[in-house]
């Protein structure tokens, strides 16, 4: 049982190190935690490896050879026919009493098993339109701290979506934005009730981890919408114009070009 526990710790720490190494940590947490996460997971990995060595040295772990052969055969059959997975389960189940290795035990372990299988099976993906739907009420209410207000530059050519929305909350005079050129990246979000050919180029803003991601977006008016799917990542270059959307005047990007891009390695804004 202890071996399994050490393996579990090892799995979690290796998973974190893997995420760090492949630059996927950014999908889950804010960059300020990256180094801390790496250090802690390396420590946990070392501890669990040491523990494994100590355990395996001391234990008289004897696994039935017949059991191993049976398991291999049933896994082979299972890989040929889908329903054969039942066979593997049945085999493990019948042998459970003798070999405690696969004793899955109490329900409280269930969620650890779920977590591990989710980490193994599901692709690492950022949040998308579905979560945007669910949270869209707090759209475009980014507040700024005083320090940020002071550090805001005059050069707006490198502004991302969050910068534009912050600057709109500091200076809500829409006419000043008309004609300014925009160059932003984000994913396509099709907003309910928007006029024809209008959609949002959207991002999530994260302060801690994906759990607190808040959606923001700038409206874009373009006929290209037909060629775009929700959640496609795009780069929009264009200029701001004033339009009335949902009975409110707002600035809208009228693009010169829309190109499809790959998801950036830091999908969220901070």
């Amino acid at each position: 049982m202890k071996v399994i526990r050490y393996l579990t710790i090892l799995f979690f720490s290796v998973f974190l190190i893997y995420l760090y190494h492949t630059h996927k940590l950014g999908i889950y947490i804010h960059p300020r935690y990256f180094n801390f996460t790496l250090v802690m997971s390396v420590i946990a990995a070392i501890f669990s490896l040491l523990g494994l060595i100590v355990e395996l040295k001391n234990s008289k772990l004897s696994i039935d050879l017949k059991y191993i052969i049976g398991l291999v055969i049933s896994i082979y059959i299972a890989s040929q026919v889908t329903i054969g997975y039942l066979l593997v389960l049945l085999f493990i189940f019948l042998n459970n009493r003798k070999n405690k290795l696969f004793k899955l035990g109490s329900i409280s372990n269930l969620f650890v098993i779920i977590a591990i299988s989710v980490m193994l099976v599901f692709p690492t993906k950022t949040l998308g339109s579905v979560t945007f739907d669910q949270r869209s009420i707090d759209l475009n209410t980014l507040n700024t701290t005083n320090e940020e207000k002071i550090s805001f530059g005059i050069d707006s050519s490198k502004y991302n979506i969050s910068d534009w929305i912050k600057s709109k909350s500091i200076n809500p005079n829409l006419s000043e934005y008309v004609g300014k050129s925009v160059d932003v990246e984000g994913f396509v979000y099709k907003m309910d009730g928007y006029p024809k050919n209008t959609f949002l180029v959207a991002r999530f803003v994260v302060t801690c981890c994906a759990v607190d991601a808040r959606p923001i977006g700038l409206p874009v008016e373009s006929k290209e919408l037909e060629n775009l799917k929700a959640d496609d990542w795009i780069r929009v270059k264009g200029k701001f114009e004033i339009r009335t959307i949902l009975d409110v005047e707002d600035i809208v990007i009228v693009p010169d070009s829309i190109e499809k891009v790959n998801m950036p390695s830091n999908p969220y804004l901070y």
């Binding site: 999908i27 409280s108 707090d138 801690c208 759990v211």
Partner: protein, 336 residues
């Protein structure tokens, strides 16, 4: 009898159901339904977003859990029981006040504090001390204070009210609990049992360090996964719009922000920046209740506290924290 049976075969039944699902997916047209129909595609993206939230909670909390477990190993090996009994004053009120300030030396998130609290209990902390520690440490620490100060730089009183009320709530609840005679009764039996085992051999050796590390980690990770699952589930299936439409009502807004803090389970060190984004649409009392309630109680922490305390105690603590944060939120809304 039935529950024993249920426990034994639950996982097996679950695995069979999963296998049947895989079979249906590949052979009975479920795959086509999920890939090509509109509802199917929606369900899949919902599921994928759910997994992202689920893993994100675990990934965010794990480093803090590891740090907490490391500190608890150090406490277990190097802190003598007599030492804690010596430095803690005999006075009920004074001792709780000192415990509530420990967070200054342990400025990590709430989930890192739980393994430490478990170890401190076995070193002579009473249950009431440990509850005061758990409630106070996430808020009464330099990082949380600075981030709140920075986030709400336009209204410094928020940071001050937050830290002062956390201090009082943690102490009042701890002192109330300290009147319970037999503190051990408030602990989970399983925890008491394991504690005896660990305390039995407290030789300073690599082996005992590894043993404590492994048993603490496994105990906490189980409940972290459970808490993360429930929190992610409630986040992806309770629309936030339902919650957030009530922002300007002085009473409802407070209740809503407490509910949000309960399900969202984010780290106390940075939750001020998150709360900041609601400060336009929500009353300042409700923002404060969020900042006070969230670090003390949420789905994830409750689930992790379950490893140590009896459910009865958790219900009492949760309701007290709830009432206090409600009170503060309402006071701020009606006075200012």
């Amino acid at each position: 009898m039935l529950s024993k049976y249920f426990k034994k075969y639950f996982l097996f039944v679950l695995l069979i159901v999963l296998t049947l699902f895989v079979f249906a997916y590949q052979n009975l047209g479920l795959k086509d339904y999920l890939t090509y129909s509109k509802e199917g595609a929606y369900f899949i993206s919902k599921l994928v977003d759910f997994t992202t939230l689920f893993i994100s909670i675990i990934v965010e909390a794990l480093p803090f859990v590891i740090l907490g477990v490391l500190v608890s190993v150090l406490v277990a090996l190097f802190v003598k029981e007599s030492f804690i009994l010596r430095i803690l004053p005999k006075n009920r009120i004074l001792s709780h006040i000192i415990v509530s300030l420990l967070g200054i030396f342990m400025p990590v998130c709430e989930c890192g504090n739980i393994p430490v609290a478990r170890r401190l209990i076995s070193k002579g902390f009473s249950v009431s001390h440990s509850i005061t520690f758990l409630l106070a440490a996430p808020i009464l620490n330099p990082i949380t204070f600075l981030s709140t100060w920075e986030a709400f730089s336009y209204d410094k009183s928020i940071a001050v009210i937050r830290i002062v009320s956390a201090f009082f709530i943690a102490n009042i609840i701890g002192i109330i609990l300290s009147f319970k005679r037999n503190q051990q009764e408030l602990l989970n039996e399983k925890f008491v049992h394991e504690n005896c085992e660990i305390e039995h051999d407290h030789k300073i050796s690599l082996k005992s360090a590894l043993h404590i590390f492994e048993s603490e980690f496994s105990e906490v990770i189980k409940l972290l996964c459970f808490g993360a699952f429930i929190a992610a589930l409630s986040q992806s299936f309770i629309p936030r719009e339902v919650i957030l439409q009530l922002g300007q009502n002085p009473i409802l807004s407070v209740l809503v922000m407490i509910a949000l803090a309960f399900i969202i389970s984010i780290c106390s060190n940075v939750d001020a920046f998150f709360a900041l984004s609601y400060s336009n649409t929500f009353t300042s009392g409700s923002i404060l209740s969020f900042l006070i309630f969230g670090p003390m109680i949420d789905i994830k922490i409750l689930s992790m506290m379950k490893s140590t305390y009896k459910t009865k105690l958790l219900v009492i603590v949760t309701s007290l924290v709830f009432l206090f944060s409600l009170l503060i939120g309402l006071l701020v809304n009606y006075i200012s």
